[in-house]
Each structure stands twice: as C-alpha cells, then as structure tokens.
C-alpha cells in the first residue's frame, strides 16, 4: 500500500493519514489499526500465521506507529520459519517505532531459532536490560531450553509479570516449549498450560495447543479430546487436516472399535 501513498489523486496530494473506514452498520467496530491488530492476534493464537500477518500488515498500513502491529508481524514471520525476513523486518520496525524490549526479544527469538545462540544471548540480554517484560522472559526461557538450563524459572517470571490469568502468556510459553521439540520441553509446556486452562477454560486456542502438545507426548486419545473441546469452543475454526489425521485412531484401535 505504501506505493500508493504519494499518488496525486484529483490534483491534490493526500495530506493526512487515511481515515478509518466509516462503519457501514451502526454499532460495528471502527476498522482502525487496533481493529486489525485484534484480528491479527485472533489468527495468531489460532496458529494461522499467514492470516495474522495479513491483518498486522493492514494495521501497519493504517497506522505506521502501531508497535503492536510491527511486533505481530515479526512474531508471525518467526513462527512461519522466515527468520531472515523477520530480521530484515526488525530493521524497518526499529526505524519506525524505535527499539523496544519486545522487538529485541523477537530478534533474539529469531536468532535462537536459527541456531545462532551467541547473537540470541546478546539480544536477549539487551532486551532484559531494556526493561524486560513478559515476552523477553519467555524468549529467555526458550533460549534456556536450548542450553538445558532452568527455563522454568524464566517462564515463572514471565507468568508473574503477565498475571496468572493471562492465558496469552501461557500460550506463548507452551508454544515456545513445543517448538523446542523435546519430550521434556513438552512436559514443561503442559506444566504452564494446564493452570491457564483451568482459569480460562473457554479459550479454544489453549485446547488447540494442548492437542499439539499431547500429540508430541504421543497421547493421542487426550489430544483427540482436546481437539473436540477446541471445536466446541471455536465453532468458526476449521481444525487443520494434519491435526485431525494425527489424532485419528490407529489401525488396531479401529479394528477393535476402541
């Protein structure tokens, strides 16, 4: 959209930021940057990162100063496995919204996931020095997972900062543990996800992540139940085919009707 900004339409250059679209129906939320950020978050926590990225991009297009949208973009790129692109986009984000602890943490996350641990540790240190917060501690915990250190301590810190009721923190912790891809880290993920599920039991996203973790732990029946819960709570969500396939009963279970 940026390339259309400097077009001179009807002889007058566009002088101000584009106004958000006027609600067509009374009562509808105004479609400003925050609206698209919320939509992006919604997709993000459903693990639909492409859609989330689109929404965050719309938010950035509407308000370039929306730090949350930039964060979401970089996070979504990282989750999509496009670490190099995330690093490039970090440069743009810093130019616009300035270097924040969260942005540094995401940079550390991208570096850690590429296996560049020296840089990751440096960025993580910087992010903690720049003020810390929930996300820097979660990223620190993920880096600790790779170095077999006490990651749970960092996750506890992040949980304490976010408040016990914040299900998003538990989600991010669990997804970080899931990405570390070991049975031990999956157990750690469960340790943080289950309390959040007790408090925010209406969140289908948590059940979706729970299903993934239990698949990692080879508990197919439990994963299937979690997916059923997820489907019941998020009626508009289409469960990915690979998840359905992974939780489907195996040959012997089908043979004996169990």
């Amino acid at each position: 959209m940026g390339r259309f900004n400097s077009l001179e339409l009807s002889g007058t250059p566009q002088e101000t930021a584009p106004e958000p679209e006027i609600p067509a129906v009374r009562g509808e939320a105004p479609k400003n940057a925050q609206y698209f950020i919320d939509r992006g978050d919604r997709f993000f926590f459903r693990c639909e990162y492409e859609a989330a990225l689109q929404e965050y991009s719309r938010a950035v297009g509407l308000d370039a100063g929306a730090a949350a949208a930039w964060l979401g973009q970089i996070f979504a790129l990282t989750e999509l496995g496009e670490f190099h692109e995330a690093e490039l986009w970090y440069g743009n984000a810093v130019g616009v919204v300035g270097e924040t602890a969260e942005l540094l943490a995401l940079r550390a996350l991208a570096a850690a996931r590429t296996g560049d641990f020296d840089r990751a540790c440096g960025y993580s240190d910087s992010s903690l020095e720049a003020g810390g917060g929930m996300l820097p501690h979660i990223v620190r915990g993920e880096i600790f997972l790779y170095s077999r250190r006490n990651a749970e301590y960092c996750f506890e810190q992040a949980t304490a900062m976010a408040g016990r009721a914040d299900w998003k923190c538990a989600f991010l912790i669990a997804s970080a543990c899931l990405f570390a891809d070991t049975a031990a880290s999956a157990t750690t993920a469960l340790k943080f996800l289950l309390p959040a599920l007790e408090k925010s039991g209406t969140r289908g996203e948590l059940y979706l992540l729970l299903a993934r973790i239990q698949l990692k732990l080879k508990q197919r029946t439990a994963a299937q139940k979690a997916l059923e819960q997820c489907a019941a709570l998020m009626s508009d969500y289409i469960i990915p085919a690979e998840l359905k396939e992974a939780t489907a009963p195996g040959f012997w279970a089908r043979l004996f009707g169990r």
């Binding site: 991009s57 496995g81 170095s147």
Partner: protein, 429 residues
C-alpha cells in the same frame, strides 16, 4: 514566504506545492512505508534441517566470569584449612570418599615409598606422586562446592560411582555401565575389549599384535571416559580433563595388556623372534623352539651367539652359520666362496653385503657367521675377529617354529632357498 520543509526553498505564500521539489507546503509529508514485510521466496529444507540440528544440539551457556566466581566463593572453611594438613579430609567430609582415598593414598604412598627407596633412582619419582595427591586434594577442596563433582561421575545421583566397586569399574570395561542399566554402551565397550583380544590371539606371531591390543585397550578407556564425564565443569576444563583421561588411561591399559600378554607368552618357554628379523627367513613374533648348548652345530643352523668383547649394538644375536670346521672360506665383492665354490648357505638377511675376507681355513671348532639381521648401520664392518667364532660361543640353536600354526616348520640346516646349484656339465668343463 513559506520555506519548503524538504529543500528549504523559499516559496511565495500562495503557492501550495514547492516550485523546486514539488513537496506539499501545507502539511508535513508522510513517511512512505510499505506495510508488507518481505517474504521468503521458497522453502529451504536443508537450511531448516541445519537449524533444527543446531537447536537439538543446543549450546553451552557462557561461563561466569572470574569476578562472578569470586563473588560466589564462600571463603575458606575450617575443613579446608584442616585439609591443608591432612589431604583427603575435605573430600571425606563432603561425600567424595573415592577422591579422598585416592589423594591420601598418593600422599602417604609417595612419602613412604620415597623414604624406603632413599638412595635409589625411584625415590625421585615417588615424591611427585605425593605432591600430586596433595595438590589434587587442595584443588578439589578449593573449588569443590562450585565445581563439583571432580571425581564422582556426574551430577546425577543415578550415575554416582560407589567406591566399593571402583576397582571392577576401572578394570572391567562395561562393568559400571551394566550396573547402572546402560546396557547398550556397556555391551559396546565390552565388545571392543573382547574383539581386541580375539584379534590379538589371531595376530600372535605377526606385527599386528600391538594394534590388536590397542583395540582391546580402547574398551576400558572408553568405559572410564563414560564414567568420568566432569558434567558440572565448564566446557574447556571438561574437554581438557576428558582428553587427558582418555589419553593416559588408554596408554596405561595398552601398556598393561602388552606386558600381560608378553608375560603369558614367556610362560610358554618359546623364543619369540624379534622385529629385526623382518624380511628374513624368520618372521617377527614367531615362537621358536630353542636348544641350549647344541652338541653338534653345523653350517646352515640358526644359532644364538654370544659376542666376546664389546661390539656396539650386538652383544648376542641369532644368525645362520655359514661354514664349519675345515672349510676354506673367502669373501670378495660380497660373494662368499666355500671350498672354492659359491656358498650354498647365505646369512638370514639376503640383502646383507658381506665384507671382504681373505681366503682362510677354519680350524677345529671354528665357524663363520655374520650378524646379517642384527647389525645396525654400515659404520662398523664385521671384522674377521668377530666373524670367525669358536664353538663355545654358540649358546643355542633354533630348532623349529611352532607358532603360528600355519608357519610351523623345522629350522635345522635349512639351505638358502634362493641358491641355485651349479649344473653338472659346468663342473665337467
């Protein structure tokens, strides 16, 4: 007058856009930002694999700096101070009993042995043992709380080394691993050990026995390295200790096995053919039956000879008797003539160039012999004084080779296999 925010050009008040650069003069220009991030053009499976591998392998967190170490140091405790006078005491108190025994044993053993061996050269080697035990004890006591474990296997309680099984743990490869339920690696270490000894038995009588024993020594050395992994140490120290441990334990096991095997072979009362006989009729490592003081040595026999007087590099050697009592011998241009004919019997090493010898007749009980395999270098040619020997100098004779089985043969009076007898008609001419 309006100044352009972009190029600072002064424009008239009624002008909407700058006449120089075209920028809007009424409002600040918005920064043009493409809100869409760059995207990857394609998947990179290999790159992803490498990244996953790196994440799986993980990394070691950077070590704390020396300053942090010092800050963590709790100071010297009373048992550390007592340990200065009684090495091993700190280890006994802090659940590192094997190390305590080891240090105390080294110190006491070193002191006592050096006292008993005063006046011998060994006393010089005993004192460093005592010092090493003392230093090890102090070193461990100084950083033991921070750097533990030094002597215990790992920080895991499951893999702790119990001191009462230390000896079999050290000596029997795989013993520790089987005790701790690590059956696969235990079987691997034991398998390497057994494979080495089987190879050794197969290679007896060849040059490869040392290599086979090296394979056998790898079993217990690997087992030791698995026991002592220095898990709580910083990476560089851990690497250093592991390298040192593997190197020295391998050397010790290799040497021990070599000596054990050598002693066992000596028990069999065979004479083992040495390395210097490579390339002759004999093969290094063969087991030969030897008769001491043979009553009737004859040309062609391989005899053990004791040199009278000092000869550099050869006090005693085996070689073949070239001529016997009453023979007329001469050597010219490296060719031996016996009784006016080219010799049928040549030294063991056929590449040995015989030194010139004027014609002479061997007297009673006199033999001609050259140390073709044992002599080192060409600096000292074997003189007539040494080449003509008396019967009393012959102390033994090799009768036959018994091992390896596939090379069993008699050695008595064997002619030179490369000798070509002159044809009868040439004699008539």
């Amino acid at each position: 007058m309006k100044s352009c925010p972009r190029c600072s050009f002064g424009n008239f008040d009624h002008v909407v856009n700058c006449v120089k650069c075209g920028a809007s003069l009424s409002a600040p220009e918005r920064v043009s930002i493409d809100p869409n991030p760059p995207r990857a053009k394609r998947k990179h499976p290999f790159r992803e694999w490498v990244q996953r591998f790196r994440r799986r392998r993980g990394f070691r967190w950077s070590e704390p700096s020396e300053q942090e170490r010092l800050e963590q140091d709790p100071g010297l405790s009373w048992d550390f101070k007592l340990n200065l006078f009684l090495p091993g005491f700190y280890q006994f108190r802090h659940d590192r009993v094997p190390l305590g025994i080891f240090c105390l044993g080294l110190v006491l053993g070193g002191l006592i042995c050096s006292w008993l061996m005063v006046g011998t050269g060994l006393a010089f080697f005993m004192m460093p043992c005592a010092v090493a035990g003392y230093v090890m004890s102090i070193y461990d006591a100084n950083g033991g709380a921070v750097l533990r474990p030094f002597f215990s296997a790992t920080s895991s309680a499951r893999l702790r080394i119990e001191w009462w099984t230390l000896l079999p743990d050290l000596l029997l490869p795989g013993f520790f691993q089987f005790r701790k339920g690590r059956y696969v690696r235990g079987a691997i270490y034991l398998g390497i050990f057994l494979a080495g000894w089987v190879l050794f038995c197969y290679a007896i009588g060849t040059l490869y026995t040392a290599w086979a024993l090296a394979v056998a020594a790898m079993g217990p050395a690997l087992s030791l390295c698995d026991m002592f992994r220095f898990a709580a140490w910083p990476f560089r120290q851990r690497l250093l200790f592991t390298v040192l441990l593997s190197f020295f334990s391998f050397q010790i096991f290799h040497q021990s096995y070599f000596r054990i095997a050598d002693a066992a072979l000596d028990q069999a009362a065979y004479t083992t053919i040495g390395m210097e006989f490579a390339g002759t009729d004999l093969h290094p490592g063969e087991w030969a039956v030897e008769t001491t003081n043979p009553p009737d040595p004859a040309p062609g026999d391989i005899v053990r000879l004791r040199i009278q007087g000092f000869v550099y590099g050869a006090g005693e050697f085996f070689d073949r008797l070239l001529a016997g009592p009453g023979d007329v011998v001469s050597i010219s241009d490296g060719r031996l003539q016996v009784n006016g004919k080219p010799a049928e019997i040549l030294p063991l090493n056929d590449r040995y160039r015989l030194p010139n010898l004027p014609e002479l007749t061997l007297g009673k009980d006199e033999f001609l012999i050259y140390p073709s395999a044992a002599q080192r270098g060409n600096g000292h040619l074997w003189t007539r004084n040494y080449a003509v020997i008396n019967r009393s100098q012959i102390t033994g004779r090799l009768e036959s080779i018994h091992f390896p089985f596939w090379r069993r043969r008699s050695l008595v009076n064997r002619r030179n296999p490369e000798y070509i007898a002159p044809e009868p008609h040439s004699e008539q001419e």
